[in-house]
């Protein structure tokens, strides 16, 4: 299988290179009108077919790696280092992306899948798709080059390679294992990765990373060919939104994995790898907003092109940070010297983008007409300003240790206190804009309309501030000013205001429809959403952001306690009392474990049992915490089995009461729901009038506007 996989990669590289060269030649011939023995259209089609064949070749390579993992072929270095016989099947599959070579293969395979879909849909716009396909082929060539030269996933153990350069079959493998040349078992998967979410979190994140290659390819292609109008944006809208959804899910799943596996009670540590996934999300979100300015007003064309260029570059930077070892991180599971490759590639991409932009910038002349500072257009400008500043802050904080070491010769740490002081206020400002934006109409508005739209959100804001203070949520802790509580109160108040603003938009629009159709308000709101899925799907996403923000703000009220618990000893945290019912050990083929069975009492009554656990995996001899979590809307009871006291043999238990954490995950569910609605087509005008007779005199602006 090693030879099959290696040759598949080689063939894929050759096909991608052909796709790039032939595609570029064909497009050049079309652009210049130059004659040749083969028609440029036919040449471009052979390039497209090479791209499709490339997908088959990369899929074959990915299949070969998965097959080798399941066949326990430890003659392949990657399999030896990332798998073992006792590893459960789901995690064997996850071994594909648990190491550097495998995750780069996953990158290449996902890119091949996206490219395959794109090339199959080429009839939508043959020329634009030919440009996009050729640009994707260039990206694919880069990843396949790394896989073939620098990080081959099918590299054999040196002793095996010396005797069998094309790999070994099952019988030879058995013989080599009996002679000890090939180990009989592998080193196993990193215990931190042996968690159900790790089977879906990396693919989600990579789908997000890789997916941004497609809008990038369309944007660059459209600029190269001076594509008329805004059609390319509409063509890529679904790609961009789906990609954004995958990236969002990937980030949240990563947060949940960190929360449930790392055992420190938190979900976001501002680690460079976490930051790397967040930066393209910020620029991608900015693009999804500002692109509406281009679609509706013909504005910000250059800005949008550079936003999508930057987003793509940040996904490459993210991959480099994860895999290249430029900055130290607790999440970078596979580091090596491939950073230089990525730097060169990013340099080439930047050069191509700048060159193309300078050459074609006259094509990007935009409308430059704003009728009022207080308008939807202005709010999008400020939204972009804040998102981009947040991205800069995170990039700056991530790379500052490298800069500091270069300038001063010594490293510094840029951790949570830095981001809490700098990024949190920016985030709160963004939350404020999330509420303001939907209340402002396109073009301009009157002072009276502003007052009418803002009165309810402002009331909600101050009611929540007063309620927080009355309920004891105050910005001081033990007498000292507590920044965390202060930010939490501000976040709660702003969240209430934003939620009120969005819901009032729904109610306003639904009331108009109710008057026209005599439906009830809920049914009217559903019809309103179906009529303009993009706009109201977007509002639902904003509601998800608000709900997640409330959950994030809850971190200010977390508390914890650590205690050695003998048999029937008790510890209390918040409303809960934990009693040690028993503690014992267990073992299976994959790991040994120690765990405690804790009875949890509330108001003197036993409510439930939880069993925090600590495992030590046989293959890697590494420990792993299995946190016990009981989640209710108000908080999570989060219990960690920290180990045993060597002198008494009794377990040490650490319990956290983490406020409102469940809201973060619920916020994600709402965001996914909103995105799916935004992706669905709106009711067409041919159907809408048949169902609803729109009265000309009604103020229907609430459900107009597209966005």
């Amino acid at each position: 299988m090693a030879a099959f996989g290696s040759f598949s990669l080689l063939i894929a590289l050759a096909l991608a290179a052909y796709n790039l060269v032939a595609g570029a030649l064909a497009l050049r011939m079309i652009a210049t009108g130059r004659e040749a023995r083969i028609s440029p259209e036919r040449l471009a089609d052979t390039a497209r077919r090479a791209g499709i064949a490339g997908f088959v070749a990369v899929t074959a390579a990915a299949f070969a790696l998965v097959w080798s993992v399941f066949a326990n072929d430890f003659s392949i270095t990657y399999i030896l280092e990332h798998s073992n016989r006792a590893l459960p099947a789901a995690y064997k599959f996850a071994a594909l992306w648990s190491g550097q070579e495998g995750s780069l293969l996953l990158w290449a395979w996902l890119l091949a899948v996206f490219g395959f879909v794109l090339r199959l849909r080429h009839k939508a716009d043959v020329k634009l798709y030919a440009y996009a396909g050729t640009i994707l082929a260039a990206v694919q060539v880069f990843f396949l080059l790394i896989l073939v030269i620098n990080a081959p996933p099918f590299a054999l153990l040196p002793a095996v390679y010396a005797a069998h350069p094309f790999g070994v079959g099952p019988a030879e493998l058995l013989a080599l294992q009996q002679t000890g040349i090939v180990p009989s078992d592998g080193n196993g998967l990193n215990p931190l990765l042996q968690y159900p979410e790790m089977v879906i979190h990396p693919p989600m994140l990579y789908l997000g990373y890789v997916g941004f290659s497609v809008p990038f390819a369309f944007a660059l292609g459209a600029l190269m060919m001076r594509y008329p109008g805004e059609k390319w944006i509409k063509t890529t809208r679904t790609w961009t939104l789906v990609t954004w959804l995958f990236l969002t899910c990937g980030i949240f799943l990563g947060m949940h994995w960190a929360y449930a596996v790392l055992g420190w009670g938190g979900y976001w540590g501002w680690d460079p790898v976490e930051n790397a996934s967040f930066m393209p999300w910020l620029t991608g979100t900015a693009f999804l907003h500002s692109v509406m300015m281009q679609e509706r007003k013909g504005m910000m064309k250059s800005w949008n092109v550079w936003l999508i260029f930057s987003t793509f570059l940040l996904t490459i930077l993210g991959t480099m940070l994860t895999r290249g070892g430029l900055v130290s991180s607790v999440h970078a599971f596979a580091q090596s010297s491939i950073g230089a490759w990525f730097l060169v590639f990013m340099g080439i991409v930047v050069a191509v983008c700048i060159f193309t932009y300078l050459l074609q910038r006259s094509h990007l002349k935009s409308e430059r007409n704003l009728e009022s500072l207080v308008s939807r257009e202005s709010s999008f400008l400020f939204n972009n300003l804040v998102l981009l500043t947040a991205c800069f802050v995170i990039l700056w904080g991530t790379l500052f240790p490298v800069l500091s070491e270069y300038v001063e010769g010594s490293k510094v740490t840029v951790g949570a206190p830095f981001y809490n002081r700098v990024a949190v206020p920016i985030g709160l400002f963004l939350l404020f804009l999330t509420g303001v934006g939907p209340l402002l109409p396109w073009r301009a508005t009157s002072l009276r309309a502003i007052r009418r739209n803002f009165i309810l959100p402002v009331i909600a804001l101050w009611v929540v501030v007063a309620a927080c203070l009355a309920l004891g949520v105050r910005p001081w802790n033990g007498g000292a000013f507590d920044t965390g509580s202060f930010y939490a109160v501000v976040a709660f108040a702003l969240s209430a205001a934003v939620l009120t603003a969005i819901l009032s938009e729904f109610v306003r629009g639904a009331r108009v429809i109710r008057r026209q159709t005599r439906r009830n308000l809920l049914s009217s709101a559903v019809l309103l959403t179906r009529r303009n899925t993009r706009r109201y799907g977007g509002y639902i996403i904003h509601i998800g952001v608000v709900v997640a923000t409330v959950g994030l703000a809850g971190a200010a009220f977390n508390r914890n306690i650590e205690k050695e618990l003998g048999l029937h000893d008790k510890m209390s945290i918040g409303p809960y009392t934990l009693e040690n019912e028993s503690f014992t050990q267990d073992s299976n083929q994959n790991y040994d474990s120690e765990f405690a069975v804790l009875n949890v009492y509330q108001n003197g009554k036993k409510q439930f049992q939880i069993t925090p656990e600590k495992r030590v995996y046989h293959a890697s001899e590494q420990p792993q915490t299995m946190v016990a979590i009981h989640s209710v809307p108000e908080w999570d009871l989060y219990v960690v089995y920290e180990g045993t006291n060597p002198s008494t043999g009794q377990p040490i238990i650490k319990a956290f009461l983490n406020a409102l954490v469940g809201w973060i995950w619920f916020g994600l569910v709402i965001m996914v729901f909103g995105t799916l609605i935004a992706l669905a087509p709106s009711l067409t005008p041919t159907l809408a009038p048949a169902r609803v007779q729109v009265a000309q005199t009604e103020p229907v602006a609430a459900f107009k506007g597209g966005d």
Partner: protein, 171 residues
């Protein structure tokens, strides 16, 4: 006029609440152990290191308690930790020397971007409050209505789903 007075009263109450209070040793310990790093290599804040038997965090926390009890100022405590463990023990760069740049740059960039955005809005006529176009702008800005309509039509016609939403658009 009653609403602004109510808001003023609430704002005053919040301001008073925020300004009240004196520091306590526990609050200070929590504050400081969240501004220092555990040096065992776990990349966690000192107050959040969760390794049982982690000799680094236990030792550092003990030193921190001793320093607080001896009446040292925050800066003296940080200096002592840096002297002993190196600059990476601080969870954020100190606001002095070259590291000050780390703190200034985000706000400088934000201020510059904000100023740029306001200038852009002004240049695009958003601060004039009317529909007139300022002099000296490019020909794109000062299009006559017929030309603007022509461009709008082109944009609509070259857009895939212009017709799909057209019936509900306000343009």
């Amino acid at each position: 006029m009653r609403l602004p007075k109510v808001l003023e009263a609430v704002a005053l109450a919040v301001a008073i609440c925020f300004s009240v209070g004196a520091s306590s040793p526990n609050g200070r310990l929590y504050d400081l152990d969240h501004r220092l790093m555990c040096t065992c290599g776990c990349a966690q804040l000192l107050g959040e290191c969760n390794h049982v038997g982690c000799t680094s965090s236990t030792k550092e926390l003990s030193e921190l308690r001793t320093d607080i009890a001896s009446g040292m100022s925050d800066q003296q405590i940080f200096d002592a930790f840096v002297a002993k463990y190196g600059a990476t023990v601080l969870a954020a760069p100190p606001a002095k020397g070259f590291d000050l740049v780390a703190w200034i740059a985000p706000f400088a960039v934000f201020a510059a971007a904000l100023a740029g955005t306001i200038l852009l809005i002004r240049r695009w006529g958003g601060l004039k409050g009317g529909k007139g176009h300022p002099a000296g702008l490019t020909e794109e800005v000062v299009l006559d209505p017929a030309e603007r309509e022509r461009r709008e039509r082109i944009r609509r016609e070259t857009s895939v789903d212009a017709g799909a939403e057209g019936g509900l658009r306000d343009e």
